[in-house]
Amino acid sequence: MTDIAIIGGGPAGLSAAIYAASLGAKVTLIDDGLELGGQLIKQTHKFFGSEKQFAGIRGIEIAKKMIQDIKEYDNIEAIANSTVTGYYEDEVITIVQGVNGDILKKLKAKRIIVATGALENMLPFVNNDLPGVYGAGAVQTLMNLYGVVPGNNILMVGAGNIGLIVSYQLLQAGIKVEAIVEALPRIGGYLVHASKIRRLGVPIYTSHTLKEVYGTDCIEKAVISEINRNFEFIPGTEKELEVDTICLAVGLSPLSDLLWQAGCQMKYVPELCGYVALRDDNMKTTKDKIYIAGDVAGIEEASSAMLEGQIAGLNAAVSLGYKCDNYQEQDKKLKAELRELRDNPLSEEIKIGIEKALIRGGRD
């Protein structure tokens, strides 16, 4: 029996755990990775955003600090390498553990906060299942966490922030990036990242995409092509690149299976990159006992995930009767910070999306 089970130990889940535990709630934090920290533990770049949310600090340092904080609370139990497979009406979640996945545990939790994050999108192209085609997150895991070279010559697909940042990280690790292709007519990520990469001699082809890769048992060549405004290939514009690795940075989708299974009301919101659970401004879903935070609530970035985690952690704990001195003020402050963070032209879409997913007063 626990007060709050938090599913996912990335920036949102860690923040929720720390906040709820600071108010005295008994927290069980469950993560399916080998270590806590989610994507933070492989992010070597310094964060943008507000100072209160660690701007100017590298993701790996943020993770270290938060994991240290978690350890200092006796009322947080953290379980890594375990997958939550279901939520049942009697407030029970099922957890699969063990190398072979042969241990099944049940845990009763008065509230759950789902902070499961996101899954990388796949891209259709010929032979997209060949070894050497990686998601950008996997490339980061290999090189930044385990010091393993994912390939010798990389084609990055996608010039959003992830594509740009991972390209730069590859160059830092001494790995060649042949080119970056972006299907849109413009670069989606911060231009400061893009110019850094261009200065290092990596071309960024906009209105281009990957058409096919070929090779026996691994990638030997890739063919890119220019595309028109309807994203159709323009014949005759194909270019052959000698690469052995494709890194896909073509967006993320909320990892919301558990919320579907739990029966939360879901909605497709393109601005949030997929199906998300409807929620009130406390991050509570249409199920009274289920809260959400981070990418599962809509694809954004780590700073907003941390704030959403804090809001969910605070409100879940208070809903259980844990006392927060000046709750109103704290709650208002966190929500104001989140608004402030989104108060920039790049967050316009996000704000539209959140408006679509927002409900006034949750009901079960």
């Binding site: 899954l119 070894p131 090189m143 385990y146 010091g147 070279v149 830092q172 048992d217």
Partner: protein
Amino acid sequence: MRIKEHPILEFNQKEKVKFTLDGKELEGYKGEPIASALVAAGIKVLSRSIKYHRPRGFFCAIGKCSACLMKVNGVPNIRTCVTKLEEGMKVEIQKGKGDFN
């Protein structure tokens, strides 16, 4: 291949361990994912698709995509990207859906 020098990161992997892939002896670091040790050793094909036997390699690194399912110490369908490497592990490329032996 391993990254030798990095401007920001230090890789404090210390303990080398030996394991086998289909009987061939390889080396990796204790506690890293099995699949990471395989990639570092230059192994690209981790599994074969069930119907057409197409090669599958390291893809998602978070235990979600099933491209790295392998037989480890006789147990099939182990997600090698989220399973820690240990000394003496017997790793095999499994056939089809895998079976116990």
